[in-house]
Structure formats: C-alpha cells, structure tokens
Symmetry: C2
Subunit: 165 residues, 2 copies
C-alpha cells in the first residue's frame, strides 16, 4: 500500500508534463500562424497582425504561455534528473496552482479576443488568407487553453491539504 502512493504521484506528474508538452506544441503552431499571416496583401494594402491591437494582445498571451510552459518543462526535467523539486515544500504546489490558473485565464482571453475580432472581420470580407490564419491561430490557442485548464484542475487537487473545518 505504501509503495503504490509514489506511483500515483508519478502518473499525475507524467500526465501534467504531457499536457504541458501538448500546450507548448499548440502554442508554437499558433504563434507561427499568426506571425506568418502578415504576408497577406489586399487591394494593395499590406495587412499584418501588428495592424490590430487585438491581435497584438493575442500574440502576447501566446508568448507568455509559451515561456511559462518552457519553464515548467525545464522544472520537470530538473526534477527527473536530480530527483528533487525545484521549489521544495508547499511553494512548488502553490506556484503550479497559481501559474496554471493565471496562464489559463490569459490563454482563453487571448483566444477569445482573437476570435471576437476575426469573426467580425470575416463578415466584412468573406474569404481572406489573413483572417483564415488568424482564425486557425485562435483555434489552436483555444486547444492550448483547454490543455492548460486540465493541468490547472490537476494542480488544484494537488494543493497542500489543510485540516478540514
């Protein structure tokens, strides 16, 4: 019975790492798509993501989420190699909990802002490679958010336990 406990912890850590790798990959593709979308021309004007404040916000959330997941993956590798958590005690659990919570809010806000603008831009100009790429980028960001939200649920249940009232 005592031996089965670390295995359950290892399973949830592996699941967390997998979710972070998946988020990382989806955010990377979302970043490339929105950055590449700047090459589109229309009626002589060049349209790129930086022409819109909203897409600039979306790209900022992607980059912040990307850096956070890179950091978390580095921490995981350090833990596997050294056998110790980077943040010992309750600090590590609290960092994971608040980190996942805040980053998941950031990611869904970036995705929703991107969708909110893209949907209306698309209604003005029906078919357009710029809005198609922006739409795909917001979709991938939404999937990245879903993985982070699942990770956030895991880290909520892993919070340091206080005595029940």
């Amino acid at each position: 019975m005592v031996d089965s406990s670390p295995s359950s912890s290892t399973v949830s850590r592996t699941a967390l790492l997998l979710l972070r790798v998946l988020t990382f990959v989806f955010l990377l593709i979302a970043l490339i798509l929105i950055a590449v979308a700047k090459t589109n021309d229309e009626t002589g004007d060049k349209i790129k993501f930086s022409d819109f404040y909203t897409y600039r916000y979306t790209i900022s959330t992607i980059i912040i989420g990307f850096v956070y997941n890179l950091l978390q993956m580095a921490f995981s590798i350090f833990t596997v190699v050294s056998g110790n958590r980077v943040l010992s005690g309750d600090g590590g659990y609290l960092f994971d909990f608040f980190g996942d919570k805040i980053i998941s809010y950031l990611l869904i806000s970036g995705s929703a802002a991107g969708f909110g603008l893209t949907v209306e831009l698309r209604r003005g100009a029906p078919s357009n490679s710029f809005t198609d790429k922006a739409h795909a980028s917001a979709s991938l960001l939404l999937i990245g958010f879903l993985f982070t939200a699942i990770a956030s649920t895991f880290t909520s249940f892993a919070l340091p336990k206080k005595p029940n009232n």
Copy 2:
C-alpha cells in the same frame, strides 16, 4: 480549538457569498449597458449589440454568469435558513469548484471578446456612444470575472482533501 473551526468556515462562506453578490451586481450593470447600447444611431443606420456575433457571445456569457450566481446565492440562503448544504458531502465542494472554474473562464472569454472587437471598432470611429457603452460593459464584466476568479481560488483550497502522496 474545536469551536474556532466552524467560525473559520463561516468567514470563508461569508466571503464567498459577498464575492457572488458583487459579481451579480457587476454582471447586472454590464447586461443593462450592453442591452441599452442598441439605441445608438449613426449615419442613419441603427447599430445595436445583436448586429455583432461577438457582442451576442459576450451577452450570453453575462447571462450564464448571472444565472449561476443567482443559483449560488439561492443555495447560500437555503444553507443559512435550513442549516444544511443543498449538496451534501463532497458533491457540494466539487460543484463549487467546477462551477466557479468554468464560469470564470466563460466570463473572461466574454469580456476579452468584447474588448477585442470594441478596441478595433473605436479605432475606426473615434467617439461613439455605442462603443463607449460596449467598452464599459466589457470592463464591468472583467471586474465580475475578477470576483469569480477570487471565489474560484477559495473553492480550490476548499476541495475535499485526499491523502497526500
């Protein structure tokens, strides 16, 4: 020592109820503002929130958040009157946890979508009572989200405690 535990629980329940009442009030004002914004005319055309898919999404998230907070307040009143929780055992804690988590994601997505469109609409037409009201509504929705996110942090820490691994 035993007597101090229920008092700590009462404090966090009161804080939660306060956060829900505040969210409820801010969502109500946000709802009125975005609904009222339809009365604006410009160059002969009537512009209202339902002309934009994005604002329709924003108003949907406000209404869902509003109903959820109404339900939670009703549950709180029932608990105070009857002395029992509506959902007994772990069910109540899980309902609070997932409810607050999902509703807070919905609220920030509605607010971000509203902001994402409003910011770009404002750049096209500088001063406009319609976009001013939409902006105010998205701001109030963001404040409502912040209260729900704080409530969600409370209900994460109140999750049923499992044995530590």
